[in-house]
C-alpha cells in the first residue's frame, strides 16, 4: 500500500494498485464534533477530483465530503452509514468512506504527505 496522502479538504487517501481508499481525517472529525449522519456516493458512479462525493453531518451542521482524485466508485462503507459514530472512533482506519478505481495516479502528486498535512491542519485551525 502507498503512503497516506492528504487533501486541503481534510480527506486522506491510500492507493493499492489502481484502487484508492478515501476517508476523512482525525483532525476533520475533531473539528466537526459528533458525527450523526453520513451519505456516500453511489457504487458505479464517477466522481471528479475536488468534486463532492458525500456528506457528513454533526449535531451542529452538514459538511460536504470531497474526493481528492477522480475515478469510478467501486465500493462504499455501509457500516459508517448505519453507525456514523464510527467515523469519530476510527476515522483513519475502519471508517473509510469509499474506494475508487482511479483514472490518473498523477493526481495524487498534488496532495500533501502526513508531515505537510499536520502543519497545514495546525495553521488553518487557529
Amino acid at each position: 500500500m502507498s503512503e497516506v496522502k492528504f487533501s486541503k479538504e481534510h480527506e486522506w487517501i491510500t492507493l493499492e494498485g489502481d484502487v484508492a481508499t478515501i476517508g476523512i481525517t482525525k483532525h476533520a472529525t475533531e473539528m466537526l464534533g459528533d458525527i450523526v449522519f453520513a451519505e456516500l456516493p453511489e457504487k458505479g458512479s464517477n466522481v471528479e477530483k475536488d468534486g463532492t462525493a458525500g456528506v457528513v453531518e454533526s449535531t451542529k451542521a452538514a459538511s460536504d465530503v470531497y474526493t481528492p482524485v477522480s475515478g469510478e466508485v467501486v465500493d462504499t462503507n455501509q457500516s459508517i452509514v448505519d453507525d456514523p459514530a464510527k467515523i469519530n472512533e476510527d476515522p483513519e482506519g475502519g471508517a473509510w468512506f469509499f474506494k475508487l478505481k482511479i483514472k490518473d495516479s498523477s493526481e495524487l502528486d498534488t496532495l500533501m504527505n502526513k508531515e505537510e498535512y499536520d502543519k497545514f491542519a495546525k495553521e488553518t485551525s487557529n
Partner: protein
C-alpha cells in the same frame, strides 16, 4: 463592537470550551466531551449551563404595574401569586413576537428573563410602553446559571438548602454564603432543574461548587439538542416577528381569562386566530430515515406542492434519530400526516408527530 464575556468565561476556558459568538457574547458551544455526551449527561445526571447572556429585567412597582403589564402580556397577572412564573411573549399589534420570556412575580415587582439577542430592544419597547412610572433595571451585575437534569435537585440543595421545596415554575430568594440568590425551578431542557440568578462576582465560585458535587458544564450545542427534543421553541428559529403565539402552537401560554375581553397588545389578532385558526402551524417532524432536515428545509406534500418549512432540525441523542420542528399549512398539521423534506435536492419521507420528542420529567408537586 467588542465581543462580550460572561463572568464564567475563564472557567469555560479552563474547562476546554470551544467558543462561538452568540448574540454578541463569547459563549461555549461545547466542552471536550462533545455535544452528545453532554446531552446524555444532562438527561441522566446534572448539567450546568451558563445563560448569563440572557437578560434579567427587574421592574419595580405595585398593583398599578400589574395593571400596566396586563395591557402588554396575555397573562392573568392579577391572580399570579408572588414567586410564581409564567411563560409569555412580548408582541406587536399584529401579535408578531418580539421575544418569548419568563415572567416571575417578586415581592416588589416582576423579574422577566429575556433572550440575549432581544433584551436591549425589549427594554426599549417596554420602557416606551411603561413610560417613566416604574423603575426598570436590565441587570448586568447578575449572572444566570441553569442546572438541569435528575440529580440537580440533590446537588443544588446541598449548596442552597431549601430549593428542593420549590415547585415547577416557582421561585424564591435564598441565602447562600451571605449571598442573596433568586432561584426558580425551571429550565429549557425538558428535565427537572433550576435557574439561579447570582451576582457576577459570586457566580464562578457557585459553579465550581456545583462541579465539585458532580455536575458538569454543558455547552450551547447540547442546550439546543435538549430543547429541541423537549419540543421547546427557540427565538429566531420557531419564533420571530412574523409568527404569532397561535401559529407557534403556544395557545396554552395565553391565560384563558384574558381571551374574553382582550385588552393586551395583539389581542385582536390572537382572538381572531383562536376562532378561525391560523394558516400555518408549528409541528414536530420526524424523518423516516437518518437524514437530518436543517432550518430552511422545504416541506412538500405528495403532489410536489410546498406546504411549509423547517425551523430547527438536528440529531436527537436521546431519541437516537433525526428530529425537527417546522411550520406547515394547517391541513397538514395532524399527527401522522405524511410529508416530504427536500434535503440536497432529494425528497425524503417524514411524519408530523406529537411534541415533545422526549418526555419531560418536571417536578409538579413537591408539597
Amino acid at each position: 463592537m467588542e465581543i462580550k464575556k460572561t463572568s464564567l468565561n475563564k472557567l469555560h476556558q479552563s474547562n476546554n470550551a470551544k467558543f462561538v459568538e452568540f448574540a454578541g457574547y463569547e459563549m461555549p458551544i461545547q466542552y471536550s466531551k462533545g455535544i452528545i455526551e453532554e446531552h446524555k449527561f444532562t438527561r441522566s445526571n446534572s448539567g450546568i449551563f451558563d445563560v448569563s447572556h440572557m437578560g434579567q429585567l427587574f421592574i419595580y412597582g405595585d398593583e398599578s404595574l400589574t395593571e400596566e403589564l396586563e395591557k402588554i402580556f396575555p397573562l392573568d397577572l392579577k391572580n399570579l401569586k408572588e414567586n410564581c412564573s409564567k411563560y409569555s411573549f412580548l408582541m406587536n399589534e399584529d401579535a408578531g413576537i418580539y421575544d418569548d420570556l419568563i415572567i416571575t412575580k417578586i415581592e416588589d415587582g416582576y423579574l422577566i428573563i429575556l433572550n440575549a439577542a432581544c433584551k436591549d430592544k425589549d427594554f426599549e419597547i417596554l420602557s416606551n410602553l411603561l413610560g417613566s412610572k416604574f423603575k426598570m433595571n436590565l441587570d448586568n451585575n447578575r449572572s444566570l446559571i441553569a442546572i438541569q437534569g435528575p440529580k440537580s435537585v440533590e446537588i443544588l440543595n446541598s449548596i442552597v438548602n431549601g430549593v428542593d421545596q420549590l415547585n415547577f415554575m416557582t421561585g424564591n430568594w435564598f441565602d447562600s454564603n451571605n449571598q442573596k440568590l433568586f432561584v426558580t425551578r425551571s429550565g429549557y431542557t425538558g428535565e427537572d432543574g433550576f435557574e439561579i440568578s447570582i451576582s457576577n462576582d459570586k457566580a464562578e465560585k457557585l459553579v465550581e461548587n456545583l462541579i465539585e458535587k458532580g455536575a458538569q458544564l454543558i455547552g450551547l450545542g447540547a442546550r439546543d439538542t435538549l430543547r429541541l427534543e423537549a419540543g421547546l421553541c427557540l427565538y429566531g428559529h420557531e419564533l420571530d416577528i412574523n409568527k404569532t403565539p397561535v401559529e407557534a402552537n403556544l395557545r396554552w401560554a395565553i391565560s384563558k381569562s384574558r381571551l374574553s375581553n382582550g385588552g393586551f397588545i395583539g389581542s385582536k389578532k390572537i382572538m381572531n386566530q383562536m376562532q378561525d385558526g391560523a394558516r400555518q402551524i408549528r409541528v414536530g417532524i420526524k424523518p423516516e430515515g437518518r437524514v437530518i432536515a436543517r432550518e430552511k428545509t422545504k416541506i412538500f406534500d405528495d403532489t410536489d406542492k410546498q406546504i411549509g418549512e423547517i425551523t430547527s432540525g438536528t440529531f436527537g441523542p436521546s431519541v437516537n434519530g433525526p428530529i425537527a420542528m417546522g411550520y406547515v399549512d394547517k391541513e397538514f398539521s395532524k399527527v401522522d400526516t405524511k410529508i416530504l423534506l427536500e434535503v440536497r435536492g432529494k425528497k425524503h419521507p417524514a411524519n408530523v408527530c406529537a411534541l415533545p420528542f422526549y418526555k419531560k420529567n418536571y417536578v409538579k408537586g413537591v408539597n
